[in-house]
């Protein structure tokens, strides 16, 4: 069917060439956007055959349109570039131009260009051997032209749709489009569509051996083209007519049209079609009972034809028929046998070809399947690798994240612990240096001063200073020896004894313990001793505090016992609870349990005889 489309282009050659001269003149007198349009028109004028010129002017128009930022000019130029590529059978690159144009094209502003591009794309697909895709684009193009009422372009679209419908085996629909195309072509006197369409319809009917219709359309084409001296179209019509005439047994007409066709094809140098015409001529002679002549022509043809050509079968069959008519049955048999041989070979060849095609197809399919399979495998492998690497990367990332998180957690924890330690140090110090104690101590010093007891005052000041020094030092130390702790306690109790003049205290250390070799956190017991003083023995005449350090296996047990009123639960116990809280926290920091600190009333004979606090420091004694 391809030749029909080519015909479609060739038919308008003369009409367009006439335009070119005036276009060149216009080109020299125009500029800017107008010049781009002229360039486009020139490019279009070459569409009848000179692909290189179409490309040249298209490219020129495109460049200038680009410089001018003239979008429609660019689109039109791209359309021409696409058409140029299509003309030289570079369908893929033509599609690239068309699609680029389409992407730059506004379907609202320039629907005509869009439809035109659809036409171009449809054509490219048709030539590529994809009529089904072509059908979609031609349909869109036709819809576009219909909306715009561009009947002339619609004519071409319908024609193309007919051709494509035929290609996809939809003969009746093809006929419908042909008829539509024909109607518009006739209305607008578009010979370049009308003539090929007539031929197309004629071919359609010819294939169906609908002789009347085939004759009608072929003859119409013949007459119009003869009148206008359009030889190519005429020749096309003549290619059909003799056969139709012969089938209608109008042999003289068959003969004359065959001869006319022969002459035309001879003139056009198309020897293949010339031989077809010669066959038609021979057939006509046979119809006219001029068997000798027919046979002679057949013989000539047989010699020039190769076995593979389908015309040879026809000729051999005709020769056999003619020989029979001449009574030469021997020859008829020979021709028939030759025919059969050619036919057989042809069909074997055909079958072989079909087989080969099938094999090829199968092979191609298999290959492409294999390729697909390999590609799939590669993809799977790639994915697997990707997945593996993702897994590895995620694994590493998770690992790093965990490490980082643990590090940060550890650091945070240790920082927090450090902070807590510092806070504890501070609160410990604050607790020891509690203002109540300090200012009361200062008040005691003041007493010596106002009493004029200078020596006692001096001694007290020095003891107080020594205690402050110890606090400042020890609150920063993690551990001090038990002997140091006892010295501090003695210092503290001596200072307190100046406030509580009746205070008695006793510090006892288990004989099994060497206080110089045991280390404990500083000031552990002091908050409880202070509680005992402030809340236990304060105001008592015979107030007494006993402090003892005892060994319990590897543990050191500290006991603070007073002979006061016992535990109080009212608000006066604020300071007490704070001291206890700080000590508890310190104990927790050391990893001991709440059981290690016990505070209880000392009850004897059912009466409360003070408070006993016991504190166990784990693993303080070696051996």
């Amino acid at each position: 069917m391809r030749y029909i489309l080519i015909l479609l282009s060739l038919a308008c050659t003369e009409h367009l060439i006439a335009q070119q001269d005036s276009l060149y003149q216009k080109l020299y007198s125009s500029s800017g956007v107008q010049r781009v349009d002229v360039l486009t028109d020139i490019a279009r004028s070459f569409q009848v055959g000179a692909a290189d010129s179409v490309f040249k002017y298209g490219a020129l128009a495109y460049r200038e349109a680009q410089q001018l930022n003239y979008n429609n000019g660019q689109v039109k130029a791209l359309l021409n570039l696409g058409l140029a590529k299509r003309m030289i059978s570079q369908y893929d690159s033509s599609l690239v131009y068309f699609n680029k144009a389409l992407s730059q094209c506004d379907s609202v502003d320039t629907p005509d260009l869009v439809a035109e591009l659809h036409m171009g794309i449809g054509g490219a697909y048709y030539y590529k051997g994809m009529p089904d895709v072509a059908l979609t684009y031609f349909t869109r193009a036709a819809e576009g032209f219909e909306k715009l009422n561009l009947e002339e372009r619609l004519t071409s679209a319908y024609s193309n749709l007919g051709i494509v419908m035929n290609a996809v085996g939809q003969g009746e629909k093809a006929l419908e489009y042909y008829r539509k195309a024909l109607a518009y072509a006739t209305k607008h006197d578009l010979l370049n569509v009308k003539l090929p369409t007539l031929i197309n319809i004629a071919v359609y009917y010819d294939n169906l051996e609908n002789n009347d219709s085939a004759f009608y359309y072929a003859n119409r084409c013949y007459e119009v083209s003869k009148q206008k001296n359009l030889k190519y179209a005429m020749a096309r019509a003549l290619l059909i007519l003799p056969g139709v005439y012969s089938r209608m047994e109008l042999y003289p007409q068959a003969l004359s049209s065959a001869r006319e066709g022969k002459a035309l094809f001879k003139e056009m140098g198309d020897s293949a079609k010339l031989r077809s015409m010669t066959y038609e001529e021979a057939a006509a002679y046979a119809g006219l009972k001029q068997h000798d002549r027919a046979l002679r022509m057949c013989k000539q043809l047989i010699e020039t034809l190769d076995d593979g050509q389908s015309l040879k079968e026809k000729v051999l069959l005709l020769a056999s028929k003619v020989s029979t008519a001449l009574g030469d049955h021997q020859q008829a048999l020979t021709y028939h046998e030759a025919f059969f041989e050619v036919y057989k070979n042809a069909s074997i060849e055909k079958q072989k070809q079909q087989l080969t095609e099938l094999e090829l197809k199968y092979d191609t399919d298999r290959k492409s399947r294999e390729i697909q399979q390999l590609a799939d495998q590669a993809r799977i492998q790639e994915l697997t690798i990707q997945r593996q690497s993702i897994a590895i990367i995620s694994g590493v990332a998770v690992f790093v994240a965990i490490i980082l998180a643990s590090f940060l957690y550890w650091r945070q924890k240790s920082l927090r612990k450090n902070l807590r330690v510092i806070q504890l140090e501070n609160s410990l110090l604050r607790n020891q240096m509690n203002p109540h104690f300090i200012f009361n101590a200062l008040s005691a010093i003041q007493k010596f001063v106002v009493k004029g007891d200078a020596m006692q005052g001096a001694s007290f000041i020095s003891r107080f200073a020594q205690l402050m020094r110890r606090y400042l030092q020890q609150s920063r130390q993690e551990n001090i020896s038990l002997s140091e702790e006892i010295e501090t306690l003695t210092n503290y109790l001596d200072v307190q004894r100046l406030r509580f003049s009746n205070l008695k205290y006793e510090i006892s250390v288990d004989e099994s313990i060497n206080p110089d070799t045991i280390y404990i956190p500083p000031l552990m017991a002091q908050p409880f001793i202070e509680n005992a003083l402030e809340h236990g023995v304060s105001g008592k005449v015979d107030g007494k505090v006993e402090i003892s350090f005892d060994q319990q296996g590897h543990d050191l047990k500290v006991t603070i016992r007073d002979n006061g009123e016992g535990l109080r639960t009212d608000k006066g116990a604020d300071h007490a609870s704070m001291a206890t809280r700080i000590t508890m926290e310190r104990l927790e920091q050391m990893g001991t349990s709440a059981d290690d600190l016990k505070v209880r009333n000392v009850i004897e004979d059912g009466n409360i005889h003070g408070v006993e606090v016991s504190l166990v420091l784990r693993n303080r004694i070696a051996g």
Partner: protein, 247 residues
């Protein structure tokens, strides 16, 4: 004069006792070392002045006051450190002394008590008990020679220094002359939305209308009164104003 010393610290009692006897020959002193003992000596001894410790072994000075039926004598609180309770004492317009006691303050307290007419301090003590643990106050006790006023902080427009007195300008137009320095109130009220804008002026930002920058700068209060601003305090005023507005 009969003076009661209530403190669990023997050295404090001894010291204050020595100082008192040194300055006042006709002084009679009773001592107590706990809340319980304190209640009984106040009832028996009927002192003209009480030096009262805040933290004692068996309770606080406030507890002691609660346990008395009628407190017709002046109380001077004695405390070891700047305890939170000091703030409540200040807002109650009651007197206090910090340990170790300054002999001068002790003398001043005695002289003040001797000069003052017997006055019911019940309202002040009541206020103190209610707010002993408060951080923020919306009222303050202002006490002059004859009256005890319970004033809402939001009703105070400004305070002006008058020698050792402070004049309070109130929202309802009243002006109170209180025998405490402006410095005392500045320290007390600066956390309650008051700003010292001038050597002689403390204002309540709540009542500030605008800052008139003309003529060296003057503050216009909402009631129309004008307050001068010290030139080197302008920044502080502006800053306080911004902070106040934002808050």
């Amino acid at each position: 004069m009969r003076i009661a010393l209530i403190d669990d610290e023997a050295s404090v009692r001894e010291t204050v006792g020595i100082i008192l006897r040194h300055h006042f020959t006709e002084v009679q002193i009773a001592e107590a070392n706990s809340v319980a003992q304190g209640v009984s000596i106040v009832n028996d001894f009927k002192p003209d002045l009480v030096f009262l410790d805040i933290e004692m072994g068996d309770g606080t000075g406030f507890d002691l006051l609660t346990r008395l039926d009628n407190v017709s004598f002046p109380v001077v609180f004695v405390t070891a450190h700047d305890h939170y309770a000091i703030k409540a004492i200040k807002f109650s317009a009651l007197d206090y002394i910090l340990k170790p006691a300054d002999p001068e303050e002790i003398v001043k307290a005695v002289k003040k008590a001797a000069g003052a007419m017997a006055k019911d301090h019940h309202a002040q003590h009541d206020f103190l008990r209610k707010h002993a643990n408060d951080e923020h106050f919306d009222r303050i006790v202002l006490s002059d020679q004859s009256n005890v006023y319970l004033v809402k902080l939001e009703d105070i427009i400004s305070c002006k220094a008058e020698d050792n007195y402070t004049q309070f300008m109130l929202n309802d137009g009243r002006e109170l002359m209180i025998s405490r320095t402006l410095k005392y109130y500045d320290e007390l009220l600066r956390t309650q939305g008051f700003v010292r804008v001038h050597q002689s002026y403390l204002i309540n930002l709540h009542h500030l209308d605008r800052f008139d920058k003309r003529e060296g700068g003057e503050l216009v209060m909402k009631n129309g009164s004008l307050i001068p601003v010290a030139s080197r305090r302008k920044e502080v005023v502006m800053e306080a104003l911004r902070h106040y507005k934002a808050w």
